[in-house]
Symmetry: C2
Subunit: 183 residues, 2 copies
Amino acid sequence: MAREMIRQGGRSARIQEEVHKAVNALLKTHDRSEITVPMVAERAGVTPSTVYRRWGDLAQLFADVAVAHMRPQGEPENTGDTQRDIESFILQYAEEMSSRVGRQMLADVIGGGGSQATVKCCGFTYVYLETINSRAIARGEAGFSVEDVVDFVVAPVIYHILFKDSAPTPDYCLQLVARLFHG
Amino acid sequence: MAREMIRQGGRSARIQEEVHKAVNALLKTHDRSEITVPMVAERAGVTPSTVYRRWGDLAQLFADVAVAHMRPQGEPENTGDTQRDIESFILQYAEEMSSRVGRQMLADVIGGGGSQATVKCCGFTYVYLETINSRAIARGEAGFSVEDVVDFVVAPVIYHILFKDSAPTPDYCLQLVARLFHG
């Protein structure tokens, strides 16, 4: 039984990989409004019902693919200075998320309808900021409130990207950090 | 020519009304993933190409319908006290936006792909807060920065609703306001 479970896990992971690859390939050659579950399934070499069973619908599949792209690729920059580490994080985050690709990822994650994708996405941000915070504490500093950085630096940047018709400028991002650290 | 333009405007407004009505009616009886542009068009008594020409695709049509629902129905509460007016606004906003219907509206507005719907949505918030601010100034107070309320009260509430798996509590909302006004 346990061995079967392991084999199922392996197959399940391979199906996910193939389906994600199919979505990414189709997005390069098609307008997203033209993409359908049967198209994805055909390209991935699975049946449409496999896709429906696992992802529910196309919006949730797009959300899952977007989350995979949003996973941070490495550790946060380590400048030895907490405020500079946070500045470096938010400048990169704002730039990536306000790009055309970033905006589409945000729309996909939020448009998935469920909370699974958004909670994962938010989790990446927390883990990243907690790494910066742990380094600060390891240097003998007091550390900072990760919640406060999310509420007063990340949230305004995301609100700006989602609801305003312009990208948040580097100056705006740096002012949010300065205001949190120096009032 | 001018008269023709006016008649076009009237027809255009009636088409919008019928199409919005059709979407709202279909959403009551169908899962949104089942709804198609031809279904909406048939119910509204227009051709599918009218819908495509005017709204682009279904996601943009859903976004437009959601924006219509998000338009504030009245003036902000007038308690005579600026902080209490803002508290009253954010408590109601958080409650409405974190409801199932509110979350779906946010997802529709953001998922529309363009910035038209999101910018309108953000505009409603600014107008509402500016009304509260104008009253404060009319009472002889200094007024407040509407930008700051958006960045440090509205944005964290929206981030919370979009990316966390729980509704922002009234206590959380009130603390955001208190922190902005009293540091």
